[in-house]
Point group: C2
Chain length 403, copies 2
Amino acid sequence: MLKVKTPKEVMEIIKSEFFPLENCEYVPLEEALGRVLSKDIKAEEFVPNFDRSTVDGWAVRACDSFGCSEAVPAELKIAGEVKMGEKPHFELKEGCCAQIPTGGALPQGADCVQMLEYSESYGDGSVGILKAAAPGQNLIRRGDDVYPGKRVLEKGRVLRPQDIGALAAMGVVSVPVAKRLKIGVISTGDELVTADKKPNYGEIRDVNGYAISALLREFGAEVIYYGIIKDSEELLLRWAEKALKDCDGLIISGGSSVGQKDGAEKVISAVGELLFHGIAVKPGKPTIMGKAGGKPVFGLPGHPAAAFLMTKLFVLPLLSVLMGRKDKEYCVSAVLSENISANHGRAEILSVRLKKEGSGMIAEPVRGKSGLISVLSSSDGYIIIERDREGLPAGSEVQVYLN
Amino acid sequence: MLKVKTPKEVMEIIKSEFFPLENCEYVPLEEALGRVLSKDIKAEEFVPNFDRSTVDGWAVRACDSFGCSEAVPAELKIAGEVKMGEKPHFELKEGCCAQIPTGGALPQGADCVQMLEYSESYGDGSVGILKAAAPGQNLIRRGDDVYPGKRVLEKGRVLRPQDIGALAAMGVVSVPVAKRLKIGVISTGDELVTADKKPNYGEIRDVNGYAISALLREFGAEVIYYGIIKDSEELLLRWAEKALKDCDGLIISGGSSVGQKDGAEKVISAVGELLFHGIAVKPGKPTIMGKAGGKPVFGLPGHPAAAFLMTKLFVLPLLSVLMGRKDKEYCVSAVLSENISANHGRAEILSVRLKKEGSGMIAEPVRGKSGLISVLSSSDGYIIIERDREGLPAGSEVQVYLN
């Protein structure tokens, strides 16, 4: 029998046994998308570095426009025209204005911009302003976006397109990011063949090697797939040792039960330290975690859905710790379509399909034996039913983790 | 003045003017993650192709176990042992059983498996079964996962890791996917400099070239960034023509207003057909859509947040049409932290930060002039306030689109 840990205990073990690797590298801005920022980014300049018009119009001194109206326009002398990308070489005196395009630099003396729509041209070198403008109106001030010392992006953030934009604005063209983790994946089982082979009776194609590798790649890791190793402790040990030399972590899929041929636990104990064997969760109970030279080693159930979900729930959070990655995780709220009974004593992970209904979402449990890859593939996400719940009635509001 | 379309009208134009390109290519399974499936995938085989035990135990004929208990075990003769990955070369006769590992093939004659835990060994070639088993118990039946003709994955799906697993299970190692779209990006504006330059007074760094390219890449497109083109209709036209030769679509950032130097509309009209100029949305109003030789051409506002949001709201959905991509979009429900006033006459896009509170989420509007890239970068998503709403009171439930 396995002495199981609760999911919460597993997360505590992950946080107490593993630490950020703090191995940073610099990548060009164009390649930084999806990488994990390894240093806080503070601005060193003002963005923009000048007061900027947000409209096409007239740069004016606000006080010159006070009290004007369509009936009684403020007549201002045109002192010049602001050119895009250039510093205006004139100063705005009392009673004067200057034409300014969207994005143009406000001339000295001016303190706001009035839109073209609220002006009339007199054709004699002067214009009438038809509506009063307030100081600061239609302007982005110097430093409104960022200013020196402002922390714009926080260490640990996974860089999104808008963050790439913010880095561009600040001129950060070489970006400090956590090095990509290199994770080894080994599938083990005498019954396994690669996806390109036609299985004989009694054989099945390896699913986990492909699905878990894809999950890790999607998460930003580099994956070395060592292929299918036969159920032999000696062979498995040799490959695990090799993988741990090459990689920052290792996942062994299959052989994680306590059966005769389930060598993962022994191999993990042989290469390092066994942290636990068994998690109180369904599917996924026979999951092993170990540590070898500070590197994580997982033994996952051969069962594809279990291996997949254990990777999502525990392997990726561990890799987050190693990379110093700070993710915000969001769930989609939905209403359960039917009653669900759950097992006592273990948290249960239930695959669901999401459907729009009115302004909300309905979560429909996906039928079929849990653990089939087709069940996982036809679902949009999963809900977690805590171990102390006997189940959930139809109509319950549930939080769906997206697949 | 722009004659604006509503967002709904824009979506209708996208759907009526553009069509799937139907240009498919085959990629190796290992490279199919995130690609758009271009054909339905139907199974051609049974997976698994045999009845498979889900536990370590004894393959039995259920009827031989009926009525047994711990007090009165069913004593069965051991007829053999099932080896992983092999077809059992014996048939189970009445009163017999066979040892079977998790994943082993059920021998002929047996119709279920009883767990090892519910048996006792007599050491004389027979075992006692301590609990009755029902036919089918602890089995995955042949074809339970997939069977010939079953549509497992639908055309248009963006392939997730679990879909890669399902393809592996079916032996699909060469995957039909929509070709990657190649999208050209041109930034225009005399005030722009590249991110590696220090802007002079009146200049700013190009943000859109980087942020929009990243957004398109994240969406799976290949991007050719043509750099910054000066505000010259002639130059812009020449580069737009070149880009449309190279690419499946073009985005021109900047020059989309109706100002003197805003040449995007003229250039789009010159290379093809102008579909509309102006969307009733804030920010993002001066957005242009055109079509040149069936290819989409967008003119986006230079304003970074507007350009970014218009790309999310309209460019990516259009690219989805071209790729035959069917996305499910999910929102996160949250409660608005404060009163929001909105403009009449235009839908408003409001950036928000999400915070956990209790079991729900709070959406906090991100302060700062809308449209600054730092506002976008410090937000987690956005809400859309429809044009017919004057605003939203604090405590409203809102749907947040994640950034």
